[in-house]
Symmetry: C2
Subunit: 396 residues, 2 copies
């Protein structure tokens, strides 16, 4: 269990610093897209001061499941942050925020577009008063365009952005991606935008305005279906577990279960055929090239499953491992969190929640030099837990 009294992002003596050490982020975001972004920044060494509404704080504190009344949803994405409750409609509380912005590097918010302006925090005003400040916004549809004032959540942009229309069983209903990729995608692009602005600031000395739209981010993720539709006019549809343009790239039945096989080029396909004892397939004109295999994907799947039925998943895994063919099992969350490789990569962290219980959460996948080992995790904050210290530091 991590000790919650460890100051955030303090590197052990004698080692290097986390890459974003020295940067301060003032974080007005709630729920997921913004908090995911600021978790990334915090994991990479930035100081993140989370400003929450005094009336219950971040909405996601009310989202289950709960451990001793504390939200696991919230805990999963708010480690390494400080918390203070401020009401931005109250003049005294605004003064505290303004004081923080004098020295902050980044201000980030994910209110509906227009809310910050109503509070008086326009980009023009912020840039004039704090010229070095990067001001990033995440909203459903962005700060411009006809939908700019519409509200959105993950589900709305997954549906509007087309991702649901290409996900699900072949011939079946559309399915939501099983994680909130509408929010997390926006959080990742926002992180890229903030870092880009900071890199530009290193040259110019001036902050920048970063405008991230959740719907834009879905369009960006949909690059391949958009290009396919543009090239052919065919409407991309759900294909179950199959890739639309690469074959074999699918889940296949074995004698006792399933195996995923992913073969992206002709050389690997020859390797696969050899490993299966079916060298002749590599010379079959239906299967010799990527486009040919893609056209004859149903015939190839039938042939593959007829052969794969001769042995168990474990036996085929061993054979494909030896041959160097990309393959893998279908893991559920329990298998994933018990996987030795995942643990060896530091991708599971135990943080404190509730009455000293440990909650296992996903780690940081951005591994930079030796810095990863430095990221002593600070537990997710209780609402307003850092008030006294922050008010003393940012005295108005």
């Amino acid at each position: 269990m991590t000790n919650p009294t460890i100051p955030p992002n303090t590197p052990p003596a004698g080692q290097g610093q986390l890459p974003l050490a020295g940067l301060t982020v003032v974080d007005l975001t709630r729920v997921l897209s913004g908090p995911y972004c600021t978790m990334m920044l915090a994991d990479l060494g930035a100081r993140v001061i989370k400003i929450e509404h005094p009336d219950g704080g971040d909405d996601s504190r009310q989202v289950g499941p709960f451990v001793d009344g504390e939200s696991a949803y919230f805990a999963s994405i708010n480690r390494n942050k400080e918390s203070i409750a401020l009401d931005l409609k109250q003049p005294d509380d605004r003064k505290v925020l303004d004081k923080m912005l004098e020295t902050a590097d980044v201000l980030i918010e994910n209110f509906r577009a227009g809310v910050m302006e109503k509070l008086g925090y326009t980009w023009a005003a912020l840039h004039a008063r704090y010229p070095k400040l990067v001001f990033a916004s995440i909203s459903g549809f962005g700060q411009t365009g006809p939908y700019r004032n519409r509200p959105a959540y993950d589900m709305v942009v997954q549906a509007m952005g087309g991702l649901m229309s290409v996900t699900g069983e072949a011939g079946g209903n559309p399915a939501r991606v099983g994680v909130s990729i509408g929010d997390i995608g926006a959080g990742l692009y926002a992180t890229i935008g903030i870092q880009s602005a900071l890199l530009k600031r290193a040259a110019t000395g001036l902050g920048e305005r970063v405008d991230i739209s959740m719907l834009d981010c879905q369009v960006a993720l949909l690059e391949n279906p958009i290009a396919r539709y543009s090239a052919t006019g065919g409407v991309p549809k759900p294909l179950g577990t199959r890739h639309p343009s690469i074959t074999p790239f699918d889940m296949f039945a074995t004698r006792d279960g399933f195996i995923v096989i992913a073969v992206g080029n002709d050389a690997l396909f020859t390797t696969l055929c050899t490993a299966l004892g079916r060298e002749e397939w590599a010379r079959d004109p239906r299967f010799a090239t990527v486009p040919a295999r893609n056209e004859h994907h149903a015939a190839l799947k039938e042939a593959l499953e007829a052969r794969l039925a001769d042995a168990t998943t474990a036996e085929w895994e061993a054979a494909l491992e030896a041959a160097g063919v990309p393959h893998g099992p279908l893991n559920g969350v329990p298998e994933l969190v018990e996987n030795a490789h995942v643990a060896a990569r530091g991708m599971l962290l135990d943080i404190g929640i509730g009455n000293g219980k440990a909650l296992r959460v996903a780690g940081n996948p951005v591994k930079i030099g030796t810095a990863d080992a430095l990221s002593g995790v600070r537990n997710p904050p209780a609402l307003d837990q850092d008030r006294a210290r922050l008010l003393a530091e940012f005295r108005v």
Copy 2:
């Protein structure tokens, strides 16, 4: 149509520069994860020199669909890049790469872990010779850990990483996310890693080693199912279009079609009830709070669909729009690429492909200041198209 002779990332006179202008990325990556990362960097202003194998170049040039024999798959993610064909096993070609690295800021590759070392490009050697160089690798499983030498493609990590196990119809088979989120996710985290290293370099003057594992990135995307499993022990499963912890957050039938409604907090739920003329639901103990609604999700869906059957999707869209309730239609790719808001956000670009045809592709969702308007798009390169100019520039 964009003129392919425009030099990449040249801002119009009198305006600011793209945020990553002045950075040079030497790009050894193929297919998707790496090229997606370097497209982001190029869109944001970096110069990207794509080094391809002389024997056919990037594998994805062979992946369909095709326009006049040119891959739309490749074109969608390789704009704004220069191309030169080099064989890294040939001494003369290695000298060209080495010369580029003398002034480059970033080297990125996505070979199987170990390939760069076999070619002699270890981090130790690179860092000693080019101390400012950031060296980023994307691989299936990372540079460390028991699986480090295993190959992977998108499909493998989507299956191993648990994402497929939570995607699909409730009670049905797992489904692959309809885009290659295993690759694109890794490309996004790699972009964050590279930018983090560049920000650290601004302080230290020294390059860093960035190690991105596609499987790690799937674990990071799975943060919520991991936290839920850790908190409750319940195994997360596919839920069709429903959110696991927030209700109503789903697709619902109307009189003539479907509508997505996403309500993330109690205040919005009250607003929804009023818009539907069912104020009493907000006081119903089954529906009054996020956890209560989540427990009674089936009853609430039944009640909602009974009411939504009274009007059409268009009528309910107008009512929810007026009330400010997050909602949206289920769009396919054709509706998405014809959407006026998507166009207004600059999220669709026309690039040249084949015999001067236009291919419509997804734009850059990272909008920074006025810089987005500057990103005059350079068409995806033909294999080795910039050879003469690059050899003259990097004379050995």
